[in-house]
């Protein structure tokens, strides 16, 4: 992992490095002309983007820029949101998600981590075993293995291994957020979506989770919505800047930070002058 990191950041030309790594990678998420409305209000206008397999794709932007709405559209959560109207086409792994027959399988292939940690009112074990159980896993030994593996990968195992039977909702905030990540991993997802995962988490835990993400990028595509510009810089291969429902700019993360950007608004936001 360290090698890949060094490789990506040491190359003088981040653009060339990105092309070298991802040009041959298949497109995992493809968004075409996506417009989202809530009743009369348009929260996302004509967004186009494509995310490559095993890429960490960052999205930055101030509040109300439509980031969360985009995430909701990706796993068809608009079905549960009254008044949310999605237009445009989203393809995941080549399949148009409006026409997939099994939306539940679609959602299971996308792990989601929310801004505020949501420990379900179940034990730590049951929190992580929930999704496998939904998927039909009944064998206790198999569940034991899945739970331990997911908790280890979320860097939480050592802290909770002696109290798997205590309530997940009583863990500390940082632990709950890692529990949420373990739960997302238990779905065995191809895509991991993180929506501002660090706003309720202390800096040390944030760095631990970032390390976890660097490990996970080998196996899955990660969509990282963050309000910390520097977090996008640390993790993301490419970053998109959203403002007022528009995707202003998509660029190689390093380029956004070190070179003249296409749009003045992006520069203003990154340097903390707007948004």
């Amino acid at each position: 992992m360290v090698a890949t990191d060094a490789e990506a950041h040491a190359t003088s030309d981040p653009e060339a490095a990105w092309h070298q790594r991802f040009d041959s990678a298949p497109i995992e998420i493809e968004v075409n002309d996506l417009t989202i409305r809530y009743g009369e209000t348009t929260v996302l206008r004509g967004v186009n983007l494509d995310i490559r397999k095993n890429e960490i794709f960052g999205i930055i932007g101030p509040a109300n820029s439509g980031k969360t709405s985009l995430l909701k559209a990706l796993n068809r959560m608009d079905m549960f949101t009254p008044g949310m109207n999605v237009q445009g086409r989203i393809r995941i792994n080549g399949c148009d998600i409006q026409t997939v027959k099994n939306v539940y399988a679609l959602r299971r292939s996308i792990g989601v981590v929310f801004p505020l940690p949501v420990g379900l009112p179940l034990t730590v074990f049951e929190n992580v075993a929930f999704a496998p159980r939904l998927g039909g896993v009944k064998d206790q030994a198999e569940l034991d293995i899945i739970v331990e593996r997911c908790l280890r990968r979320a860097a939480l195992w050592d802290e909770v291994k002696d109290r798997l039977d205590s309530l997940g909702s009583f863990l500390s905030g940082g632990q709950q957020q890692r529990l949420t990540i373990a739960r997302a991993l238990s779905q065995d997802p191809n895509i991991l979506i993180l929506d501002e995962f660090s706003i309720a988490v202390d800096p040390v835990t944030t760095m631990r989770i970032e390390d976890v993400l660097k490990e996970l990028r080998k196996e899955m595509t990660i969509l990282l919505v963050t309000n910390l510009v520097q977090q996008a810089r640390r993790l993301a291969d490419r970053t998109a800047f959203f403002l007022n429902g528009e995707c202003v700019e998509i660029g190689m993360t390093e380029c956004l930070f070190t070179r003249p950007v296409l749009d003045q608004r992006t520069k203003d936001y990154i340097e903390g002058r707007c948004g």
Partner: protein, 291 residues
């Protein structure tokens, strides 16, 4: 000058605040006054007749002596059957309204009907019960007809209590489940219901206490003045405590004064015991809250 010195306006504010506090407290104390007076009167006038024999023997001498067992038993039967009818319907309807229904004109109409159903006077329910259950469904005057009438009357209580306790489960839990690919039912079954069952049960117990005291809805539909027999099934008629009290107080000559007070004491004790049980149960479950 000391910035924390007491000033004139400060003293006035304090005095006004004390006055209002006293006013609100008096009003609150006024609330419990009727309860205390009723209980004390009942215990004073009727306490002496409530014995083991009173509870468990039949009325004698044209109901001017003896016990209240048929009425007590009848009330228990009526309440139980009413629960069996209203709880499944009410809980299912509440789950639908809270978890499935989208906010459209139909849902709003249903909500409006529930509110209105709660406001319908009990004598109107009684007449509805006669028309619907006694005559149309041909239950005759029976425990079943009376209980169905009671059930219709108490449905709003069950629905509202259930819906409120369902909605006290945070939305974030549901969203987390849906994001994991759970269906609505899986979410309800595994997360929402286990965490709202306490509130639902509390609502049900409150309903029981309300049902036990109702007179009008059962008067024409299944409860009788006097019967020497205990009901053998739901199609039989039965005595009931509330009606028995009404009859003793107004219809039967020569009833000793203590007797109706004794019946009232038993009836109100049932209500108070159920309510206390409900409150104790709620406190117990609140201690086990999971988030």
């Amino acid at each position: 000058m000391n910035p924390f010195e007491v000033t004139g306006i400060n003293t006035t504010n304090k005095r006004t605040q004390a006055l209002f506090r006293l006013l609100f407290m008096m009003m609150t104390l006024l609330l419990i006054l009727p309860v205390i007076i009723i209980m004390m009167t009942l215990v004073y006038k009727g306490g002496s007749v409530v014995t083991y024999d009173f509870l468990f023997s039949h009325p004698t001498n044209g109901m001017t002596a003896g016990g209240i067992f048929p009425a007590l038993f009848g009330t228990i039967c009526l309440v139980t059957v009413a629960l069996v009818v209203s709880v499944p319907i009410g809980v299912a309807a509440a789950i639908y309204l809270s978890e499935y229904a989208s906010d459209n004109w139909l849902t709003r109409l249903i909500n409006l009907s529930i509110v209105n159903l709660a406001g319908v006077p009990s004598i109107v329910h009684a007449l509805f019960g006669v028309g619907a259950f006694v005559i149309f469904f041909q239950f005759g005057t029976s425990i079943l007809a009376a209980s169905c009438t009671l059930a219709v009357m108490t449905l709003p209580v069950v629905i509202v209590a259930t819906r409120e306790s369902l909605q006290s489960v945070p939305m974030a839990f549901r969203e987390a489940c849906w994001n994991m690919g759970a269906t609505r039912w899986q979410t309800i079954r595994r997360i929402v219901l286990p965490n709202s069952i306490s509130g639902i049960l509390t609502g049900v117990i409150l309903e029981v206490s309300r049902t036990a005291g109702e007179t009008a809805p059962i008067m024409f539909t299944g409860a009788v003045f006097f019967t020497p027999f205990l009901p053998q099934g739901v199609m039989d008629q039965s005595m009931a405590l509330s009606l028995h009290l009404f009859v003793l107080s107004t219809q039967v000559p020569g009833v000793p004064e203590a007797l109706p007070y004794g019946v009232a004491l038993v009836l109100i004790s049932i209500v108070l015991i159920m309510n206390s049980a409900s409150i104790a149960f709620r406190m117990y479950l609140r201690g086990k809250k999971k988030w």
